[in-house]
């Protein structure tokens, strides 16, 4: 047994209201630079729906993740090492920018500079790639809130698989349509196929916390990782020619703060905590033959942090005491392994993803209340979970490679919790049998309720800080002064976009923001605009208002 630590996340889907705050704050923190306009480290997709990039879950097309070769050995679905090198000159399955969307801005200046006339001036969309007028046809959330409507559901790869497996048409008549939101970040997998696909070894998994990162200095732009990741959570920065991905906000995590998406989540539905796992058995767990066994195999890797054998082994690996303590208090361990209500997204990709989801009960409760039933009655709920085959089957395709049993168990536990706690809240004697029907005790139910409904900040985020002898490296902005006036602050060094020494991310962001806020307006330069989203409300960046004397009536 080789014990390793992993910071993992759980999201409780019942609470997601699809507000996209997480996406926006993440974008503001990490990807508000040119070259990554189309990059959403965090995105929230409506299910059923195509997802982002379009139909990324369809691995027959995109060939992400791992597959079992002959003799049951794991190999990247897009091919082994030799094949990767032979196809390196043109990656055969790289998504095109149109599978994401072509980033654009608007030619705002015509609004103020158009000559006086009868028609209202219009700000035309302009492509940020070619600088030419474009028409906006798709974006990161084009099918937001369309859900299981007839026009969209058919394009969802998960629905497609359901249909072929059930050999019957899954119908999405308007009455039956349901939807929920699925916020996604990088899964920081235990068996990351993005890392396995990187020819230059620039991608790595941090041994202390399991965060998967791209070394920007070592990345050579072979763009194989984009294909490798089945969740399409490695993106190619088309200006710098380097891959970028969700960083699990490591500069915040290292000092004990939750990721930006978690911190700002309106529904407070995200949980972060460490789990201990057995690194020796990762390969074995990822290569079990039957995909429906992957969920159990993955769960089995997580070690009990209260088990003295485990903690002894962990200490031998040099895992610090505060990490062990955090692992014992970890909400992620509780929701995944103790209560078994959190499930992994697409375990069949065999990357052993470490962002887990509590499946939404809402399609079930909604169906009940819309037919006039009591959505908090345990009999009704249990009955509905069994009869509403489609939501359960759909969730199973997402979370357990199609096995409805774990999904049903999770939904039953959530139902039991609803019912049990209603009694408690109404002052009735709690009914142990309700808990027992979901295989729990009243105590379990109360604990689960505390975690899902009332957990405070410190209960949701149990984040041990990084251990660092040299403190100065912890300050993310430590060398901002070295940097001021450095070469190629924004834009170009001598060898193209952003060449020169690497710079701290926050510093680059700071300068990029200032540059954009202050660059002069003009239709020719797509960057030259005041992005109000970037404006912190302080001061008045040049270009916020048109220069004096350019208003039509003044110059007339």
């Amino acid at each position: 047994m080789k014990v390793m630590t992993q910071l993992a996340m759980v999201m409780n889907l019942d609470k997601c209201i699809g507000c996209h705050t997480c996406s926006v704050t993440c974008k503001q923190a990490w990807t508000n630079r040119s070259g990554v306009e189309y990059v959403w480290f965090n995105n929230v997709e409506t299910r059923p729906g195509q997802g982002y990039p379009r139909r990324y879950q369809d691995q027959d097309t995109w060939r992400g993740g791992w597959e079992l070769g002959r003799r049951g050995r794991l190999k990247p679905k897009s091919g082994g090492r030799l094949r990767k090198l032979l196809t390196i000159f043109a990656n055969p399955v790289l998504p095109n920018i149109r599978d994401y969307y072509e980033p654009w801005t608007y030619d705002y200046s015509t609004l103020t500079t158009a000559p006086l006339g009868d028609d209202f001036p219009v700000a035309q969309p302009v492509s940020l790639l070619s600088g030419r007028p474009t028409s906006v046809e798709w974006s990161a959330n084009w099918d937001d809130n369309l859900g299981g409507g007839p026009a969209n559901a058919g394009l969802d790869p998960v629905i497609e698989r359901l249909r072929s497996e059930a050999e019957e048409k899954v119908r999405f008549s308007f009455e039956q349509a349901y939807m929920f939101y699925l916020p996604r970040i990088c899964e920081h997998c235990l068996n990351p196929s993005c890392v396995a696909s990187c020819p230059s070894g620039a991608m790595y998994k941090r041994s202390e916390d399991g965060i998967v990162l791209v070394d920007q200095d070592r990345c050579r732009g072979w763009r194989m990782c984009v294909t490798g990741c089945p969740y399409k959570k490695v993106y190619f920065n088309h200006r710098t020619g380097k891959a970028e991905k969700c960083t699990f906000c490591y500069p915040r995590i290292e000092v004990g703060l939750p990721t930006v998406c978690s911190e700002t989540c309106v529904g407070r539905l995200r949980y972060i905590g460490p789990v201990l796992y057995d690194a020796d058995r990762v390969g074995e767990a990822a290569s079990v033959a039957d995909p429906t066994d992957l969920y159990e195999a993955q769960l089995d890797l997580l070690l009990d942090p209260s088990d003295p054998q485990v903690t002894d082994a962990a200490r031998r690996e040099g895992i610090p005491e505060d990490w062990l303590d955090a692992a014992r208090r970890s909400p992620v361990y509780a929701l995944t392994k103790v209560h078994r209500v959190a499930l992994p997204l697409h375990p069949e990709f065999r990357t052993l993803p470490m962002v887990w989801y509590v499946p939404p009960l809402s399609p079930v409760t909604e169906a009940l209340s819309s037919t006039g039933h009591d959505g908090e009655d345990v009999d009704n709920l249990f009955g509905a979970i069994d009869t509403l085959r489609i939501p359960v089957a759909y969730l199973a395709e997402l979370f357990t490679a199609g096995d409805p049993v774990p999904v049903r168990r999770a939904l039953q536990r959530l139902s039991a919790m609803r019912s049990y706690m209603r009694a408690v809240n109404l002052g009735d004697p709690p009914d142990e049998s309700v808990a027992a029907r979901a295989g729990m005790t009243g105590e379990d139910v109360t604990a689960l309720y505390r975690l899902l409904a009332v957990a405070k900040y410190e209960d949701r985020y149990v984040i041990p800080t990084a251990h660092e002898a040299e403190g100065r490296h912890m300050e993310e902005t430590a060398c901002s002064l070295d940097f001021e006036g450095g070469p190629g602050m924004h834009g170009s060094g001598p060898f193209g976009e952003a060449s020169g020494r690497p710079r701290p991310v926050s510093v680059e962001t700071f300068h990029a923001l200032r540059h954009r806020q202050t660059s002069p307006g003009g239709p020719g330069d797509p960057e030259a605009r005041v992005n109000l989203l970037n404006w912190d409300g302080k001061g008045r960046p040049a270009g916020l208002f048109p220069p004096k004397g350019t208003r039509p009536e003044e110059s007339a």
Partner: protein, 236 residues
């Protein structure tokens, strides 16, 4: 042997070498972040999928051909029983097939750069200069191959002139006379080649120096400790 010859074939090669080696070392140390293929496949893949493999596989064969032609002395090949005529026929065949593949690939790549909107906007002046010299070197090389084999003009055994000079450069006793006696096509090709190598460290061509051969020999999953990356350099 004129002064011009001495400068061209006795001094220039060393200037090129110093710029190539010095520039590469300097850039490797100070511009890791700029060291990339700057792939444009995200913008366009239909033409790239044809042009890029054609160009790259072509140029790899061309590189191997150059290595054999320039580094292996003639008496070694004759010693294993390959005569001058036989050598030339295979060199001409292989060389021109690879050369034309490279040229065709480069033509597709340049056409793609010019006609695909986003690729064109992402093309820097540096790229344009690089392509100019690169294509010139390929064309001059094809002309030299053709002329040396007697397809156009007089047959010429470059292994007695160009190759001898090339090897002499590396033992620090440049055989200026040998190169000066080579036909013009070869001299032009060698000059453009030197220019290309002098530009190399300062263009995107550096990606070739970090061809990921090590990938074949490493485990799939890479772990790095945070402490280690924080000390060495930033981890992002």
């Amino acid at each position: 042997m004129s002064t011009v010859d001495t400068v061209l074939w006795g001094v220039l090669p060393y200037v090129t070498l110093v710029v190539l080696v010095g520039g590469t070392v300097w850039r490797y140390r100070y511009d890791q972040f700029g060291w990339t293929t700057r792939s444009s496949e995200l913008y366009e893949s239909r033409l790239l999928r044809v042009g890029s493999p054609l160009f790259h596989f072509g140029i790899l064969v061309v590189v191997i051909g150059h290595a054999i032609g320039l580094l292996v002395p003639e008496n070694w090949t004759s010693a294993v029983g390959i005569g001058q005529a036989a050598y030339h026929v295979q060199a001409l065949l292989l060389g021109s097939v690879a050369g034309f593949a490279t040229l065709a690939g480069a033509a597709i790549l340049v056409y793609r750069r010019r006609t695909t909107g986003p690729v064109f906007t992402a093309t820097t002046r540096n790229d344009k200069a690089m392509y100019l010299v690169l294509v010139a070197a390929i064309v001059a090389g094809l002309v030299a191959t053709g002329s040396g084999a007697g397809v156009v003009g007089e047959e010429h055994n470059y292994r007695e002139t160009v190759s001898a000079w090339f090897r002499s450069v590396f033992v620090l006793r440049p055989d200026v006379a040998a190169m000066a006696s080579a036909p013009p096509a070869f001299r032009v090709h060698a000059l453009i080649g030197m220019l290309l190598f002098a530009l190399w460290p300062f263009t995107r061509l550096v990606h070739a120096f970090t061809a990921p051969v090590g990938y074949l020999f490493r485990p799939y999953i890479v772990y790095r400790s945070r402490a280690e990356t924080a000390r060495a350099r930033r981890g992002w």
